[in-house]
């Protein structure tokens, strides 16, 4: 079954996450035999990339947990396929330099900086209805009251389904509840400081909710601070 799913040799059953993890005993880790970080990331995100999906992905995590890097990765994939990407940036935290370093073509990315949570939700809906294949909503610091209404998410979910696009929600907590197709919890494992240089972060991504597959799978991802040679 694993071979059929393309996972042969990649899954080790029963290896727990570190003991300090709140999800510790429930998840297994996927370790690529090649050790290539891109393989692990793409394995995690591949089913949710591309058009004709209609997915609502939730990326939640704390400080330096790698959730923004995962969103960059999705944006880079969409731009590489020639799709348009909308980035609704409520906290005004998007860094174009970092985005370009991550391989995202800036010329097809629309950056929207709303100042209110309601405007952010409305902007995302407008982008979906226009035909943007991927819409990233960075909702850190959003007014919780506006996000706690079920109508908000049912409306956004309907827009996502009708547009057959992918929407990514970035936040510190889970906000859209059962409307999420995929919920990924990210957590910093350790930061890599080596001889006075900051090399990157080791993060783990755990699938907490999955409408189309199993939950509880954990992935270790190395986020490098340096660009690949060449």
């Amino acid at each position: 079954m694993l071979q059929k799913a393309g996972l042969a040799g990649q899954v080790q059953v029963g290896v727990p996450l570190p003991a300090d993890s709140s999800q510790s005993q429930r998840f297994q880790r996927v370790i690529s035999p090649l050790g290539a970080e891109e393989d692990r990331l793409d394995h995690l995100l591949r089913p949710f990339q591309g058009r004709n999906r209609g997915r609502l992905i939730e990326l939640e995590g704390g400080l330096s947990s790698g959730r923004t890097a995962l969103a960059y990765r999705l944006a880079a994939g969409a731009r590489a396929r020639g799709e348009l990407v909308g980035w609704v940036d409520l906290p005004n935290a998007l860094d174009p330099r970092a985005l370009r370093r991550a391989g995202v073509g800036l010329e097809g990315l629309l950056w929207v900086r709303p100042t209110r949570t309601r405007a952010a939700l409305r902007a995302a809906e407008l982008l979906l209805r226009t035909g943007f294949a991927l819409v990233v909503m960075d909702l850190e610091g959003a007014a919780r009251r506006a996000l706690e209404q079920t109508a908000v998410w049912s409306r956004l979910w309907r827009a996502v389904r009708e547009a057959r696009s992918t929407t990514v929600l970035l936040g510190t907590n889970r906000i859209c509840g059962s409307f999420a197709t995929l919920g990924i919890y990210t957590k910093k494992s350790c930061s890599l400081f080596d001889r006075g240089l900051f090399e990157g972060l080791e993060v783990s991504a755990i699938i907490e909710r999955n409408r189309t597959g199993p939950t509880g799978t954990g992935y270790d991802i190395h986020l490098s601070h340096r660009l690949a040679p060449g």
């Binding site: 330096s64 799709e83 330099r97 970092a98 991550a102 097809g108 982008l127 035909g131």
Partner: protein, 489 residues
């Protein structure tokens, strides 16, 4: 064979008033000779012309009167020119309410003259000019006569020119009153009768005026066609009628102005790229406000929202008496998409979305991210967004590189208090309590733009704090102040 079309508005002040207030169309309306309302003002256009308001109301109590608006008349005349320019670049602005179009070369767009005439009538209706009279003929004189005779809509071919002119009344040529009286005394009442009199005989008896009339009665033009230089300046204005000191009421008045403006732009196949709003204040002062749009658009609610947002930021201190909006036109782009790429929205759809987003988030908050050519790490700017041409994406077909760290920018950089030794930070106070630095990398010195006012010299550190975040920290070497400008994520 030359062909000319004529657009004629019988009563331009009346048409201008109906254009500004479409609900007045079909109602008894009189236009006063002065821009101020007064009971003793004389009506110069529309119903009951020549009477004062009091006299006219005695005859027709439900008469509506409006003061003369030079602004509205000018806008109506420009709208008339826009209608004419929408079919041909060779247009002559002959007089208020009278425009000629050289039809040479329009056959590719309009195979039949009847189709052209209908298109002109429709476009005039679209810009709010109603009723308009259109005529087509071999000369400007004939075209004008065709437009003025029996409400217009007449097409005169050269072979039927004599027959057409023969029965037309003499007053269509607008002769001087004295000349008209003399001609009537001679029993000359139609153009055909006038054309039968030899020109030199008329010249002897009526002078230059007689010769002019005789030539025009034969369908000849008195001067060559003088094309008006094409103008791409779109202005619309309105007089509020009373001092408006409320933003809500101002937005209501603005909606009408922008609606008329967008109708004119639409007829020319253009869209608004930038708006300049000029307000005349009660004291006679002026207030200006510029609204830059992310993408050209024709959506009136979007434009109203943007103007309103802009006025909310800086509004005039006094009530407003007159509004004028000048639009810089831009064309909605077209794009050829790649057959092998996913379907993308059209540039027009995208422009509309960008404009709506701007109305939602405010001007300057929507666009493509851009990196400035500088060593400043926290520099970022917004640029105009457009669909990248097919095949130009720098990342297309390139394999995705290994995952890199993202940075969440803090804008503006947050000033922090730092404790340390020998210039190396050890504790950082981000909020209430100081946080211990667990790991540190740096410093890396960055300095630049020393030739200008934006010079900078900073020592950058990457630090991991005890709240588990990894931050980018820098020290300003000029004043020894510390800032956090990003969180690695």
């Amino acid at each position: 064979m030359a062909r000319v079309a004529c657009l004629f508005i019988l009563d331009l002040p009346l048409a201008a008033a109906c254009r500004a207030e479409p609900e007045l169309r079909g109602k008894p309306l009189g236009i006063l000779e002065s821009p101020r309302y007064g009971r003793d003002e004389t009506i110069i256009a529309g119903w009951m012309r020549g009477l004062t308001v009091v006299q006219a109301r005695a005859v027709k109590p439900d008469l509506i009167v409006r003061p003369l608006s030079m602004e509205g008349i000018q806008s109506a005349q420009e709208a008339l020119l826009d209608v004419a320019s929408s079919v041909s670049p060779r247009v002559e602005d002959a007089a208020p309410g009278l425009t000629y179009i050289d039809l040479d070369g329009t056959q590719a767009l309009f195979p039949t003259e009847r189709g052209l005439l209908t298109a002109l009538e429709t476009r005039a209706r679209d810009v709010g000019l109603e009723p308009i009279q259109v005529g087509i003929g071999p000369t400007r004189t004939t075209a004008a006569l065709a437009a003025r005779d029996r409400g217009g809509g007449t097409i005169v071919q050269r072979k039927e020119l004599q027959r057409f002119l023969h029965a037309l009344p003499l007053d269509l040529l607008d002769p001087e009153e004295e000349t008209l009286d003399r001609l009537t005394l001679w029993s000359v009442r139609t153009l055909g009768q006038l054309a039968r009199i030899p020109i030199h005989a008329l010249g002897t008896r009526l002078g230059k005026e007689g010769v002019r009339l005789a030539r025009r009665a034969r369908g000849e033009d008195l001067s060559p066609f003088r094309p008006t230089p094409p103008r791409l300046r779109f202005e619309e204005g309105t007089e509020c009628g009373y001092p408006v000191g409320n933003l809500e009421a101002l937005a209501f008045q603005m909606r009408g102005v922008l609606d008329r403006l967008t109708r004119r732009l639409r007829v020319r196949g253009l869209a608004a790229r930038e708006l300049l709003v000029e307000l005349t204040l009660q004291s006679g002062g002026h207030f200006e406000c510029k609204v830059e749009l992310g993408a050209p658009t024709l959506e009136v609610p979007v434009l109203v929202s943007l103007v309103r947002l802009s006025l909310e930021k800086s509004s005039p201190d006094e009530p407003v008496e007159r509004i004028r909006v000048i639009a810089t036109p831009g064309s909605v782009e077209t794009a050829q998409f790649d057959l092998f790429l996913p379907p993308l929205p059209t540039p027009a759809e995208l422009a509309m979305t960008v404009a709506r987003l701007e109305a939602l988030c405010g001007p300057g908050q929507v666009g493509a991210p851009g990196c400035s050519d500088t060593h400043r790490l926290d520099e970022a700017h917004m640029q105009a967004f457009s669909i990248p041409p097919a095949g130009t994406s720098s990342v297309r077909d390139a394999p995705l590189q290994r995952p890199t760290l993202a940075l969440r920018a803090l804008r503006p950089p947050r000033a922090v208090r730092v404790w340390g030794q020998e210039g190396l930070p050890e504790r950082v106070q981000l909020s209430e309590h100081p946080l211990q630095i667990l790991s540190r990398a740096g410093p890396w010195r960055l300095f630049g733009e020393w030739w200008g006012e934006r010079r900078f010299a900073r020592d950058y550190f990457d630090v991991e704090l005890s709240d588990s975040g990894v931050y980018r920290l820098y020290r300003n070497l000029e004043d020894e102040s510390w800032f956090v400008d990003g969180i690695y994520d």
